[in-house]
């Protein structure tokens, strides 16, 4: 045999650990630090080539900009690397289970992305003559048909831009309906304490005052207390169903009937529609308005904080007040109902909420998702999401306090609390411990009705193996907390950053980058 090559591939496995030693770059192998564009770019660099603009007399009316704006540029390779490096500091559904309760972080099918990018959808101007955009209107029309049918409601307003914007649409429709009846004095919206913060914020944004609806021990709306509060000053209720404790409101129909009997309307926060899509139609429960987060139930990507889309399904009672614009089919052609075309037929619309027609890019994705699943697949979505959540609930209730575990099955999310953890350990430590285990934490400290809440929504796109691994990680972290493992108090240890000082950020806000000299001068 020939001589052995001593510089062969097999690395020496030295016993010394080097992992805690600083590197020259600050990087740790694949964990790469990245400076700000203001530190690496320059005003003279650009990643886009343009033809020289022809010399011509300026028509800017003397408003030419002379001073530097201060926008650094990067060449394309530098830019691609900058953002790719940054992307790797993010957790994402594509990396693993993302159990944020109330957020429905399910897999985002890539066909949806491809369809949204067809030039016929992506490269169409909202003010093109309507004859040139019939396909776009047909997408809106088809999606609207699905949403109305799945919810058993009368009609749908498509233009709201996100869930909270949909809530606004719903409560404005309620306001308009009451005003039309001369009932301006109905100014109170009843909202349970467990509601998303957007509910009371929206009510106030639209000029309502907000009062609390008490909950029962079992985590549901207290029907009798609600009935007792109804009266001539109450405009309606805003109820989340399934609610934010992950429980279905079994009295929903009775609540609706009581509110209607007292002259009010029922708004339903549809953030949790995923649990019941294809199995329950909100219209059968007496609801007057409900927004649907296309970026939750119908899987348009959340994108790190939007864009979302929040169409609002409406009962026959509220439909006349729906916002403009909307699409109608007339004689085989789609027309746009705007201020101009509202006419007598739509004279009661409360007006426009956005420029143009809503989140078209989300409509194409959601319709693609819906057509892929079909009526049977959507029903399976609800079933699997509920099954997955119950599986998590029953697999963890012996190690984490589960306040409603005894009141029956949960819907698509399971709620836990930090009750029973030793002194000094809280929900935050469980959450940060999960980060080290390679998971995004659940929603923490929400809803407010459960102290130290942990709200877990696995969604239907998780396999049993993924759930089992997550359950194992939760059990391990919970047991570490119970054993008083101090290392948990300073977790995460393996993330791109350790715990961040939010107090400093809020006391002395630094919201834009300043040149170091400037920053010092400002001190």
């Amino acid at each position: 045999m020939s001589a052995i090559n001593q510089s062969g591939w097999r690395p020496e496995m030295t016993p010394e650990r080097r992992s805690n030693e600083a590197t020259f770059t600050g990087n740790r192998a694949l964990m790469l630090e990245e400076a700000l564009i203001f530190e690496i770019g320059s005003l003279d660099t650009t990643g886009v080539d343009f033809a020289e603009a022809p010399k011509a007399a300026s028509r800017l009316g003397g408003l030419e900009r002379h001073k530097d704006i201060g926008l650094p540029g990067l060449s394309e390779p530098e830019a691609v690397r900058h953002y790719t490096r940054l992307s790797r500091q993010n957790y994402a559904i594509d990396l693993g289970l993302f159990p944020l309760g109330s957020c429905t972080m399910k897999h985002n099918p890539r066909l949806n992305e491809r369809m949204a990018r067809l030039p016929g959808f992506a490269d169409v101007h909202p003010l093109q003559p309507v004859d040139t955009v019939q396909g776009a209107f047909e997408v809106i029309h088809q999606l609207a048909h699905w949403l109305v049918t799945l919810t058993g409601m009368h009609s749908v307003a498509m233009s709201p831009k996100a869930g909270a914007h949909g809530e606004l649409c719903g409560v404005l429709a309620i306001r308009a309906a009451l005003d039309a009846k001369g009932q301006q004095s109905r100014k109170v919206l009843l909202v349970p304490e467990s509601a998303h913060g957007t509910n009371p914020a929206t009510a106030a944004f639209a000029g309502f005052s907000v009062e609390d609806i008490p909950a029962t021990e079992a985590g549901r709306v207290d029907l009798e207390a609600l009935k007792a509060r109804l009266g001539p000053d109450v405009a309606g209720v805003m109820i989340t169903n399934p609610n934010t404790c992950g429980l279905f409101e079994p009295d929903m129909k009775a609540i609706s009937d009581a509110v209607h009997a007292a002259g009010g309307y029922v708004y339903c926060d549809g953030a949790n529609f995923n649990a019941i899509v294809g199995r329950v139609r909100p219209g059968d429960l007496g609801i007057d308005a409900m927004h649907i987060n296309l970026h939750k139930t119908f899987s348009t990507p959340h994108g790190g904080g939007g864009p979302g889309s929040g169409p609002v399904v409406l009962s026959a009672a509220l439909a006349p007040y729906a916002p403009l614009p909307f699409v109608e089919e007339q004689d085989g052609k789609f027309i746009l109902i705007e201020e101009e075309t509202a006419g007598e037929h739509h004279a009661d619309s409360f007006g426009r909420m956005v420029s143009f027609h809503g989140q078209m890019g989300m409509f194409t994705r959601a319709l693609t998702y819906i057509l892929s699943h079909g009526a049977d697949g959507l029903r399976q979505v609800a079933e699997d999401s509920v099954l997955n959540a119950n599986y998590v609930l029953r697999s963890l209730e012996d190690v984490l306090d589960a306040p409603f575990a005894n009141s029956g099955p949960c819907m698509h999310e399971a709620i836990f609390s930090d009750k029973g953890l030793p002194e000094g350990f809280s929900t935050l430590d469980i959450a940060k411990g999960l980060i080290d285990e390679g998971f995004h934490p659940m929603t923490v400290y929400f809803p407010l009705v459960v102290h130290g809440a942990m709200l877990v929504e696995p969604t239907e796109t998780e396999s049993k193996a993924a759930l089992d691994q997550f359950i194992g990680a939760c059990r391990s972290v919970a047991e570490r907390a119970k054993a008083g493992d101090a290392a948990l108090k300073s977790a995460p240890h393996f993330a791109p950053r350790r715990r961040l000082d939010e107090t400093q950020a809020a006391r002395k806000p630094v919201l834009v980058w300043k040149e170091p000299a400037q920053a010092e001068a400002a001190e």
Partner: protein, 123 residues
């Protein structure tokens, strides 16, 4: 000079005509790191129980109520740049505002130091 306390964890000192209002040490310990305080404008008229100031930690915002009725004469200017004063010295330099009282008898319904200590011990 005497100090009174409310069940909402405000304290009020009366020195002659002028009262000073702040939040108690117990309140600041419950709130955690204070990051911002919004004090009332000079001249603001407040009735007992009205929202008079706002105190914010990172994850919470709480209203501070007027312990008695009267007119605000000064907000604590130091809190704008240094809200941490409320954590460090809540019942001293971390005061919120000074006011004149419209009805000194309203003080009678408030707690003295011993009563407040007893109240807090039962929370």
């Amino acid at each position: 000079m005497s100090r009174y306390f409310t069940e909402d964890h405000e304290w009020i000192d009366l020195d002659g005509e002028i009262a000073t209002v702040g939040i108690t040490d117990y309140a600041q310990s419950q709130l955690g790191d204070i990051v911002f305080v919004e004090v009332p404008e000079d001249g603001k008229q407040v009735a007992k129980g009205d929202d008079a100031a706002v105190v914010e930690s990172v994850k919470a915002a709480s209203d501070v109520y007027a312990p008695v009725s009267g007119t605000v004469i000064e907000g604590n200017p130091a809190l704008e740049g240094e809200p941490a004063l409320v954590n460090e010295d809540p019942e001293g330099d971390g005061w919120f505002f000074k006011m004149t009282l419209s009805d000194t008898s309203e003080l009678d319904s408030l707690m003295d130091e011993a009563a407040y200590a007893d109240f807090v011990s039962k929370l």
